[in-house]
């Protein structure tokens, strides 16, 4: 099982802040594909990946990053701190 977190408009579009998932996805990109096939709201949320950032176990990674051993994947838009 892997924890998936959503922030900001990704959280709003998907409609939940966090979920747990049993997945065979080997990379972040595969996980996104799996989620997008599941339901329309995921497909919409991930329709423009240029607007999406991802962190695996709290470290930012590219979409081709492996998920082996990962406990937490977080999806969010570009950060707007400060």
């Amino acid at each position: 099982m892997i924890d998936i977190l959503y922030f900001a408009w990704l959280r709003e579009r998907i409609g939940l802040p966090r979920e747990s998932l049993a997945t065979e996805a080997a990379t972040v990109a595969e996980l996104i594909a799996e989620l997008s096939m599941r339901e329309e709201r995921y497909r919409l949320a991930f329709s423009d990946l240029a607007a999406v950032r991802v962190a695996v176990d709290q470290t930012m990674v590219e979409f081709d990053a492996p998920l082996k051993g990962a406990r937490e994947v977080a999806f969010f838009p570009p950060m707007t701190g400060g």
């Binding site: 922030f7 959280r11 962190a55 709290q58 969010f76 838009p77 950060m79 707007t80 701190g81 400060g82």
Partner: protein, 145 residues
Amino acid sequence: MVVRVQAADFDLAAELSDFGLGAGAVVTFTGLVRDHDQGGLREMLIEHYPAMTEPALTAIEARAKSRWNLADSLIIHRFGALKPGDRIMMVATAARHRGDAFQAAEFLMDYLKSRAPFWKKEITDKGESWVAAKDSDEAAIDRWS
């Protein structure tokens, strides 16, 4: 080196009362909620990613410390619902020389803007919208590489 992420407001003077003792130069930056360009801002909601926020800020601070000769540094960032005029965050840097203090403070701000897991939503009279990341903030990062 101190990093704090909190809902509560902070007091600049209290934070600086024993900050940078022995240093000759102290620079602070305070970010405040300002009204939306189109006016009518009621509230700014700041969301963050708790498990990642402090490690991310600490990493940014460590990077500044390795790059400039800093006597001290401080980052405070709030989350939750803020009103126009409210303080959002502050950074402070202390150094022997003013150039180090200024540059490190700018560096911290540039990284906070687009490398710390915060997201801002503006609630205005006309509706609500997530603040978009700016190309200029991404460009600001590049000058440090």
